[in-house]
Symmetry: C2
Subunit: 162 residues, 2 copies
């Protein structure tokens, strides 16, 4: 990681745009998190887990696969899912196939909460991001962040979905 050539500093515009990414993302995720907590008592991380489970066969995923899909650490997902289990949104059980690994399954209560929360969450994503800018600029943001994700996932094969 140590640079071997003279440092290519960011120019003023790049520096401003980089800071906008850091600060804008911080504010955006905090806002979406605040909205979900205020209306439904769940965090953004809990909401994202409900979404992933709802898209999976049987509304169930191995914890390791769930962590990889979200690009969160195993310990972070374990912590979040434990909280969700106490709230009755998911249940955990040992994997029947091989006795190893834990499966998280969304409960009916979790599904009902997701159904109520999704319109509010999407309205927030639109109001604070998608509908603020031109479709062309939003598509460019998508290209940039897909390139970032592709690079960093490929650089960390252990983070691939199993």
């Amino acid at each position: 990681m140590a640079p071997t050539q003279p440092t290519r500093w960011l120019d003023d515009e790049q520096q401003r745009d980089w800071r906008a990414l850091v600060i804008g993302t911080t504010l955006l995720m905090d806002q979406l998190d605040d909205d979900l907590r205020a209306a439904f008592g769940v965090s953004l991380a809990e909401y994202e887990i409900l979404v992933r489970l709802s898209e999976s066969e049987g509304r169930a995923m191995r914890m390791a696969v769930l962590a990889d899909a979200l690009r969160h650490s195993r310990s972070r997902v374990t912590h979040t899912v434990a909280r969700m289990e106490r709230s009755g949104l998911v249940v955990r059980a040992a994997c029947a196939d091989d006795g190893r690994g834990i499966i998280a399954t969304m409960t009916d209560k979790g599904h009902a909460l997701l159904t109520r929360a999704a319109p509010v969450h999407v309205a927030g994503v639109r109001a604070n991001l998608v509908d603020l800018v031109s479709p062309e600029d939003f598509a460019a943001l998508g290209r940039v962040m897909n390139a970032v994700a592709d690079r960093l996932v490929s650089g960390h094969p252990d983070r691939d979905i199993r």
Copy 2:
């Protein structure tokens, strides 16, 4: 925040780009954080605080102003600066002007660390973001995230810099 009209769901492309932002940002910040921790023993949050202090008169800022500049909560910045003080990177003192508020000042050790870390950090921002994409797409990302930051800061006047 509750929507009063039929939900305008994201289309497939918007959904993909939104997920790319969430996942790409998570991976990118984790990578930059890992790089700084491995090479210099500081987190990305600590690094950002050193940068802000280095740009300030006397390498010092009120804690409240520092939190606002970073768009972090007061409690988060208090926690991070306390850790940095234990590492000898900053010192804290009561504000001389009015006896209220706390000033964080970067030490010579903090400045020396920033001088060594900055080239590595910039190389990481380039390799994992700026140099991956066209200047036009990166500028579009900047426009999007500046729009997001402007909207969310103006919606929270208590977060303005004082």
